[in-house]
């Protein structure tokens, strides 16, 4: 039996763990929400979920066509078929980046766009950013699946390192969650953030080795790659899916620590300001 008490005396730690426990208490709701979010974009189309696979395939096709054939960028050689190299390379880098940019933009709006749930229902608000983050990662997983399939079809073999990718994705989930929680708070309290965010996302796109290979950086600019968590993700994805290499242990440890810290900080911030959301919308 749910009993609701508010006496303003609860400690911050109490509220923090209470919010964490909500994920278990409301697991049915959580499941429903994630499923809903994942299928949302496909729900009203004719082929439905097939778009989740078709979309990335079309992406890979065009990226390959434009960059390998038209522009003629070939710095990664795929055995027997050099035309494919850049499309796959680019798409593999785009996947973690898209997850990141979606986390920011969706996180920014996730409280505002659910004003009804905030103001009219007793809704466990901590589920909203979580749902967004998980749904956009799940969406990207379809992309990873499509990419792995492509690599297999073209190269007739896969690297065993792909099997370890889920571990990276777990870390990525924490990273994404942290960002989403922070953006949810910022987006609710600072309406101008939408405008600020666009250049930030564009900037990080160019600062992250997505269009260019990290080896091309001059020595004095190496830090752009070294201190960029996104660059770590992009590198790890590429290594494990395309090249058959594992990311460096120390770098992985740093990224893991950073992700956990980001998640805890973001979640704590969210729990802290959550009571004011209903007043602020």
């Amino acid at each position: 039996m749910a009993t609701y008490t508010y006496n303003g005396k609860k400690s911050f730690a109490g509220e923090f763990f209470d919010s964490l426990a909500t994920f278990y208490r409301k697991r049915w709701l959580l499941r429903y929400f994630v499923r809903r979010q994942v299928t949302r974009s496909y729900k009203r189309s004719y082929v439905g979920l097939a778009w989740a696979i078709l979309g990335p395939l079309i992406w890979v096709f065009f990226l390959t066509l434009i960059f390998s054939e038209v522009v003629g960028l070939r710095f990664r050689e795929v055995e027997d078929d050099p035309t494919l190299n850049f499309g796959l390379f680019l798409y593999c880098g785009l996947l973690p980046f898209m997850a990141y940019s979606e986390a920011l933009t969706k996180g920014l709006n996730c409280i505002r766009s659910n004003a009804g749930l905030v103001q009219k229902v007793v809704f466990p608000l901590e589920l909203l950013p979580f749902t967004n983050a998980v749904a956009s990662l799940v969406d990207k997983l379809f992309g990873v699946g499509a990419l792995v399939f492509f690599v297999f079809v073209l190269q007739h073999r896969l690297h065993w390192q792909v099997l370890l990718l889920p571990l990276i994705i777990v870390l990525q989930l924490l990273f994404t969650l942290g960002l989403t929680y922070i953006m949810a708070v910022v987006g609710t309290y600072v309406p101008d953030m939408g405008e600020v965010l666009r250049p930030i996302i564009r900037g990080t796109f160019f600062l992250t080795p997505i269009l260019w290979p990290p080896e091309t950086l001059p020595e004095n600019l190496r830090f752009i790659n070294d201190y960029n968590p996104l660059a770590y993700l992009v590198g790890a994805y590429r290594g494990m899916i395309l090249e058959g290499t594992l990311p460096g242990g120390l770098a992985t440890l740093y990224f893991a620590l950073f992700s956990v810290a980001l998640f805890l900080a973001g979640f704590a911030l969210f729990v802290r300001v959550k009571p004011g959301f209903a007043d602020h919308l």
């Binding site: 609701y4 303003g8 409301k26 049915w28 009219k120």
Partner: protein, 439 residues
Amino acid sequence: MTPAISLRGIGKKYRISPSRSSRLEEILSFGKAKRSHEFWALQDINLDVEPGTTLGVVGRNGAGKSTLLSIISGVLRPTTGEVEVEGRLSAIFGIGTGFNPLFTGRENAMLSGLILGIEHEEMVERFDDIEAFADIGEFMDQPIKTYSSGMRSRLGFAVAINVEPDVLVIDEALSAGDSAFKKKAIQRMYDLKDSGSTVLFVSHSMGMVKRFCTEAVLLHKGRLVTTGSPEEVVDHYEEMLAKSQEMKDAGTSKLDKQLDYEIEHEDEDDTPTKDDDLGTPNPRRIVGGAEILGLELLDESGQPADALSSGATLTVRVRLRYDEAMEDSTLGITLQSERAGLEVFSTDTALEGAPLGRKDEGEHAKVDFTFGMPLAPGIYKVDASLTNPQAEDSNVARTQDGATFEITREGALAPVRGLVRLPAKVEIHGPEGRQERPA
């Protein structure tokens, strides 16, 4: 007994800023520049609500009623004070709020249940009840965006009321349903009340508050002014309204007053009200001497009826007990349209030529009035009264609330336009001066 709801020193403060940028100036000046002012939507609210109470919350617009209910529901946090709510709380704020317009009624019902913390399976079990109660047919599987506001309101209410809440909070959620649905909803609220649930209820319909609530509170400018029986509180409220009206517009025209009255009583039209609330202009004195024990509505087959189709035959059965011997008495019934707010039909034993005759003390009587009802669809109310022919200006006995039933469109023999279908005949004549000749 621990109260179902306990409020201690509740206050809610809002900051009113003229614009966003002025708020920014304030922040940047570290609070030195004062651009906004504080506004207390609620102050010093102390209240204990025992389980099983139906509490009416009344007050003018902006008095803080919705804020109070939002705080009790846990949607808003109070600035000061403590809230305690025991058990599962289900709240309805406005029409179909919290629904996602792109998802179907069924999905939204599921979602609402899950939000309340009900497990998936349990919710699936309740679906039949919810569907039956909402009664929106195949729209249940259509996106909410295709719903009329009445349908949204029905679904919202159906969900909130069928999750067996310990505390039900209703903020003006009934205003969009039609009268048949309202009747059903009120019936269900009575059931909940009987099963010991606590109901909190905001309404501008004083009739509803008086009829339905066991207790009431009056909020004025964010403070709790009166707590007590619904009658007391409603009286106090109406007094307050009248006073502020007098102060505001001494000497406004009669039309204005009439409009004010109508606005104030707007949503009472199709909710069952006590017959002396505003109905009969000159309520008769009740002198006593007999009691009306029951008033039943029966259909043609003698079964109790609460919905009949236009044109059907209704039997009104009145059971009486005489507490003192009476030489003669007349039993009358009146049929009132709740929608039109007027008497449609009335008759009595004398008029129908069936005198009751002499009755002894303790004698019982059962009287059936049977008549056809070529009436327009809507809610109708039947009342009965017993008069003594020697003293026609007073009633011996009268029903308090009468009985209501619905005339439905389904199965009507012929459509009724207007309020009643009168026996009519149509003859068609040809143009003047020319003899119409049958072919």
